[in-house]
């Protein structure tokens, strides 16, 4: 608990606020789905928020995160405005890349969010390459890459982790093990007992931990970050968690899953759990809770209003921008 002990009350309360805001974001979004406005198919992360918040809280601005489909909280901790996120989800010009891209894989170079990909797992080598840049540039920055148990079966997981190991790159692999890849349960796509042990096959530490414990995630990432910044290489953190919603909106939450399983995991919900801890430490009371919740609601009201009011992008913008501008003495010919 070396790092966790250094967290001050205001850090803990801020983490709490971020958890609440992320949950509220996801709940509102899923609630809006199907009722017009929301264009990007929601992949709700409810139940998994502690991973994103714990991992990203304590990162530096220059550190880069590369979120999975299920790491809403990473955008939030990194400070990507909820207005921008929601406008993107609505397909509006106020969203990332003025509507050209989904928010799922958006980038925010200044705040430290790397451009992802809809091809699950393919972002792992890209995250590794960003870490390679940091190493070559002799920077102290690190990269935190989030992905699921499904992604861990992709070849790019293997190549990426091995590559990072060989060059001792400053990257942390956060595996969000929620027990499913879409509708396929873990035991149908994995015959091992855990993913953490795979790290040994590359020569760096792999740790399985409780992904619903925000402080456990924070601590593990801080340890890994120190290691990474010291040039000692990557770490794999397998965070055990569960998503309450279905893979994406459009089915009932318990579609193809046992409702009892969902209920069981709801008892381990990261938010009440952290709340109880804060209450026990005397840092939070019911009034605080209501205030934080109200603020999250208000922020989401604003975000949704912003998204609704933002116009759709002008059609003319569609056909431009496949290339960064070039010096015309270097590149001529016809780009079509």
């Amino acid at each position: 608990m070396e790092y966790t002990n250094k967290l001050e009350s205001r850090d803990l309360l801020e983490m709490y606020r971020l958890l609440m805001l992320t949950r509220e974001f996801e709940d509102r979004l899923c609630g809006l789905w199907g009722r017009g406005g929301v264009v990007e198919l929601p992949h709700g992360s409810q139940g998994q928020e502690a991973i994103a918040i714990g991992a990203c809280y304590g990162l530096r601005v220059q550190d880069q995160v590369l979120p999975s489909l299920r790491t809403r909280g990473a955008f939030i901790v990194k400070g990507v405005p909820t207005t921008l996120q929601m406008a993107g989800i609505f397909g509006k010009v106020g969203g990332p890349a003025r509507g050209k891209s989904t928010t799922h894989h958006m980038t925010d170079p200044v705040r430290g969010v790397l451009l992802g990909t809809g091809l699950i797992g393919s972002d792992i080598p890209v995250a590794v390459g960003a870490a390679l840049a940091f190493k070559l540039q002799k920077k102290e920055s690190i990269v935190v890459n989030f992905f699921g148990d499904g992604a861990a079966q992709r070849g790019d997981f293997h190549e990426g982790l091995n590559f990072a190991a060989v060059f001792k790159l400053p990257v942390i692999f956060v595996l969000e093990n929620n027990g499913y890849a879409e509708y396929t349960p873990l035991n149908k796509h994995f015959a091992g007992t855990n993913f953490a042990c795979r790290a040994e096959g590359y020569g760096f530490p792999g740790i399985r931990l409780d992904g619903n414990d925000v402080l456990a995630v924070y601590e593990a990432v801080q340890v890994a970050a120190a290691r990474a910044r010291a040039g000692e290489g990557p770490t794999l953190l397998e965070c055990m968690t569960y998503r309450y919603r279905n893979h994406c909106e459009g089915q009932t939450p318990e579609y193809m899953r046992d409702p009892a399983e969902i209920a069981e995991w709801q008892k381990k919900d990261p938010i009440p759990r952290f709340e109880a801890y804060l209450v026990e430490r005397g840092l939070l009371n019911e009034a605080d809770r209501s205030r934080v919740y109200a603020a999250a609601q208000a922020e989401m009201d604003t975000a949704i209003r912003y998204a609704e009011e933002s116009p759709f992008p002008p059609v003319e913008e569609m056909s431009t921008g496949a290339y960064a501008p070039e010096d015309p003495t270097l590149v001529g010919g016809r780009r079509i």
């Binding site: 264009v39 990007e40 198919l41 397909g91 509006k92 010009v93 969203g95 509507g99 050209k100 891209s101 989904t102 799922h104 894989h105 990909t117 809809g118 091809l119 699950i120 797992g121 393919s122 499904g150 992604a151 079966q153 992709r154 070849g155 890849a181 879409e182 509708y183 396929t184 149908k188 796509h189 994995f190 193809m256 759709f312 992008p313 002008p314 059609v315 913008e317 569609m318 056909s319 431009t320 921008g321 496949a322 780009r335 079509i336």
Partner: protein, 326 residues
């Protein structure tokens, strides 16, 4: 005649072939209990059980590679690669293994398998990685067969044939067609691969298309009729083999050619069609050949942008008018 959706026609083709031939099996991500991301395999798991319909790990390279291995050992795998964009992950297994088995083995072995790309194309606000028309990544690879059906009827007949051929077939379905209904007769039928279908006969202009753009071309043809232009719409149905004769016969008749696909124009398969005609029917052309396709950008996400991106009836009409103006 009986009407059914494109996705159900696909499902029926799979079921019939699996009943007929015990070596046919289906694997892919969430194709079993879930019935496929585009719901084209619903019910197969219940009928055939998990020995013949099963989910795989999220590993497209192994999925297709394992299909090749199984095919070489006497099975007839149908492999579903969820979004066509994901074929980039399995390119090596397709291009360097499946496509080369027959030649490299001197005919001793082949890889009779169907790789269903379910699905290609834009229209669902899925962003740059789930909306591409990727066929021309595969059209320069000897050894492959490439089928792209535009109707439920074609999908069923061509998929059944694909399963029965001795070579690897890329069967590329369009996501916006799954819910489209069409007539499908009750009994069994097969459609030959490599035979284009004249979806609309006409005398003035040849429109060559395939996949989703066939409907867009047909709509354009109806509009053009009002302008007095009688367009023939040819649905290639397969890009490899290519039915050159049907294209050439039509162009010789109409003297005008327009090619329509959803993929970007530059480097798209339309170039191949144009080249065939510019070699073999040049003298019959009364006007320059034109192509309609997407602009030279990735598929955008926002509805206004995506709608502007996909070629539309008006684009086809406009291009047709330009061809006819000559």
């Amino acid at each position: 005649m009986r009407e059914m959706m494109y996705r159900d026609a696909i499902c029926e083709a799979l079921a019939e072939e699996m009943r007929r031939d015990a070596s046919v099996f289906l694997m892919g991500e969430d194709v079993a209990e879930h019935g496929g991301n585009f719901r084209a395999t619903v019910g197969l798991y219940n009928e055939f059980g998990q020995q013949r319909v099963f989910d795989t790990p999220l590993s497209e390279s192994a999925l297709v590679g394992a299909g090749v291995g199984a095919a070489m050992m006497g099975m007839r795998p149908v492999v579903e690669v969820m979004f066509a964009d994901f074929v980039t992950i399995a390119m090596d297994a397709i291009v360097n293994h499946a496509a080369k088995v027959a030649y490299m083995s001197g005919g001793e072995v082949s890889a009779p398998m169907v790789i269903r790309l379910a699905a290609y194309g834009a229209g669902r606000r899925s962003g740059a990685h789930h909306s591409q028309s990727i066929e021309s990544l595969l059209t320069n690879v000897p050894g492959l067969t490439i089928v792209m059906p535009s109707t439920a009827y074609d999908a069923k007949g061509l998929l059944k044939t694909s399963i029965r051929t001795q070579n690897p077939v890329l069967f590329i379905e369009h996501k916006m067609l799954y819910a489209k209904k069409g007539e499908v007769p009750e009994g069994e039928y097969l459609l030959p691969i490599g035979v284009a279908d004249i979806k609309r006969a006409g005398a003035d202009l040849t429109i060559v298309s395939y996949g989703r753009m066939v409907d867009v071309s047909l709509a354009a043809a109806r509009t053009l009729e009002k302008d007095g232009v009688n367009a023939e719409v040819i649905d290639l149905r397969s890009l490899q083999p290519l039915d050159e004769e049907t294209i050439l016969a039509s162009v010789r008749k109409t003297g005008h050619l327009l090619i329509v696909h959803e993929a970007p124009v530059r480097g798209g398969f339309g170039g191949e069609v144009a080249a065939v005609v510019a070699e073999k029917a040049l003298g019959y052309l009364d006007a320059p050949i034109r192509r309609v396709g997407a602009p030279w950008v990735p598929v955008p996400f926002s509805p206004t942008l995506e709608d502007a991106y996909v070629p539309k009836e008006a684009d086809v009409v406009k291009a047709a008018q330009a061809v006819m103006a000559n």
